[in-house]
């Protein structure tokens, strides 16, 4: 069953078409990834779903409801929550306040406290540092906080924009472990990554985005072994060419 259905979505910024009619599905309980080069329109897609950029055509359907062009806060209350690129924790708020502000639209104080405990259980480091200003955390800790903050909104669909960007390989491994665990707990995940290899390994299903269009789709493992995908996004990891020096 599909949780999110995007049909013929068009977005343009200042006369430039960022998305030229893309369609894709996110099935409930899966990790779905969009991969593609810089500027292919991955971030734009997430921002359009969240209502941060105006949609000029097509439709976005979530959980059986039309959400195209709704206000961002309405979309959040429907259950679509984004972990933005570059983490974007509020540096001038404490770790605890960052979590509380993730639950901004919720009102039941007891349930919010329970959610804070739930996040602390998953990220003990955040509990240790709950009083610290978020701006003083390391990059990896900030990413944990950004994910924790998003969980505070009790998402049905968690959208993650480049969660591994700028993080050490060990931390990246951690992040992907967390993504799997969240999926196993029933949260559907839409993941955007430049690190196509890691994303396709983690994902149940993937789409390849090229200059505003979807050019390929398939199960994570299938795409991972597709020669065209390997050629374009995975840097010929096992191919012959990798041993040759790059000559232009």
């Amino acid at each position: 069953m599909s949780l999110l259905t995007v049909t013929d979505l068009k977005v343009s910024y200042g006369g430039i078409e960022a998305l030229k009619s893309i369609s894709f599905d996110v099935r409930k309980g899966q990790i779905v990834t969009l991969i593609g080069a810089n500027g292919a329109g991955k971030s734009t897609t997430l921002r359009a779903i969240s209502g941060l950029v105006p949609v000029i055509g097509g439709s976005i359907n979530f959980d059986g409801r039309e959400i195209t062009s709704l206000d961002t806060s309405k979309i959040v209350s429907e259950g679509i929550v984004m972990v933005p690129e570059g983490r974007k924790v509020f540096p001038n708020l404490s770790v605890l306040e960052n979590l509380k502000i993730g639950a901004y639209l919720r009102t039941n104080a007891d349930e919010i406290s329970a959610s804070i405990e739930y996040v602390y259980e998953r990220f003990p480091r955040l509990k240790e540092r709950h009083w610290q200003m978020a701006g003083t955390l390391s990059g990896g800790e900030q990413q944990m906080l950004a994910v924790g903050r998003a969980l505070m909104a009790r998402p049905k669909l968690l959208m993650m924009d480049e969660p591994s960007l700028g993080l050490a390989p060990l931390v990246v491994k951690d992040i992907f472990r967390i993504i799997h665990r969240l999926r196993d707990e029933g949260i559907t995940i839409l993941l955007i990554e430049q690190n196509a290899n890691a994303a396709l390994r983690a994902a149940d299903y993937g789409y390849v985005l090229e200059t505003g269009r979807i050019t390929m789709e398939g199960e994570g493992a299938t795409l991972l072994n597709d020669p065209k995908v390997r050629d374009a996004y995975l840097g010929h990891a096992k191919g012959k060419k990798s041993s040759e020096p790059e000559v232009k």
Partner: protein
């Protein structure tokens, strides 16, 4: 002790006028903190509040006209934001600044139009206009009430900003509009709340300030408005404690200069201070420290 006796009345007056500057300065600094905009119309809102009080008190008893003045001033601040700034949310910073200057002139000219440019008698507010003997000097009760009321309001404001949901949202919005939206925060409501708080404090400041003077004219608010702006820059624009401390320092300094017999230079001092602080420490006393870490 003799020098203290001599300067005491001036220090007292300085703390009082400083408190009034502070109540205006908070409006400048809070709006800057959220919109990165110097709200040039803020000083005029302060003056308009004086006229609203004049007209309200002409027909209504004080216990109605005072709260009504505050409510109408708040409504004016809210409307200014909705009409002149909200439509320019996505526009370049320069456009919204020009709009603020335009709003300032519009309010000034409206005051000229409505009053005909004549000085209007400001009502005498009993109790706070009464005289009182403090140690070696006689002063109006408002002189004592102002600093106390200012401190109480600032403490309440700090509680609001650091310990309520609205305050948390304000701090978040002041950092990052887009991420705040992703939390479900409605940016426009938070910005409106900021203008409402700023106008409320300006209205209170206006009541305290004008009760020291017999009349109000359309231009009389320009100087305190400008000095409050200097106070906000001096304290570090964006910082509320900075604005309050800056305002108190300016108020006391001005009066001490008068005590030394250089009354003519008291205004010049304030603006010299502005030039000095912009050259020496442009972020002001408590200016934003950037603690971004990647």
């Amino acid at each position: 002790m003799e020098w203290l006796e001599r300067f005491f009345p001036y220090i007292l007056a300085g703390l009082s006028v400083g408190g009034q500057y502070a109540l205006i300065a908070i409006g400048y600094t809070m709006v800057y903190g959220i919109l990165r905009l110097i709200n040039f119309a803020h000083g005029d809102i302060f003056t308009v509040a004086g006229f609203i009080m004049v007209y309200m008190s002409a027909t209504m008893p004080l216990y109605i006209s005072i709260p009504l003045t505050i409510i109408l001033t708040v409504l004016l601040g809210f409307t200014v934001e909705r009409v002149a700034y909200k439509p320019l949310r996505e526009a370049p910073r320069m456009s919204i600044m020009i709009s603020a200057i335009g709003m300032s002139y519009l309010l000034q000219n409206l005051m000229w139009y409505v009053t005909g440019g004549l000085a209007k008698q400001y009502p005498v507010i009993p109790f706070i206009s009464d005289s009182i003997v403090v140690w070696v000097t006689t002063t109006k009760i408002v002189t004592l009430v102002t600093p106390v009321l200012t401190i109480v309001l600032v403490i309440l404001l700090q509680q609001l900003i650091h310990h309520t949901k609205l305050g948390m949202a304000m701090r978040a919005v002041s950092r990052d509009f887009e991420t705040a939206k992703l939390m479900g925060i409605q940016i426009n409501s938070v910005i409106s709340a900021t203008f409402i708080i700023g106008s409320f404090l300006a209205a209170v400041g206006s009541l305290l300030y004008f009760s020291n003077y017999p009349t109000v004219t359309p231009t009389v608010g320009a100087m305190p408005g400008l000095k409050a702006f200097v106070a906000a820059v001096f304290g570090g624009i964006g910082s509320i404690p900075g604005a309050v401390i800056g305002a108190l320092i300016i108020g006391v300094s001005e009066n001490l200069i008068k005590a030394l017999g250089y009354s003519t230079f008291s205004d010049a001092f304030t603006f010299a201070l502005l030039i000095f602080i912009l050259l020496a420490k442009p972020t002001g006393l408590f200016g934003e420290k950037i603690i971004d870490k990647v």
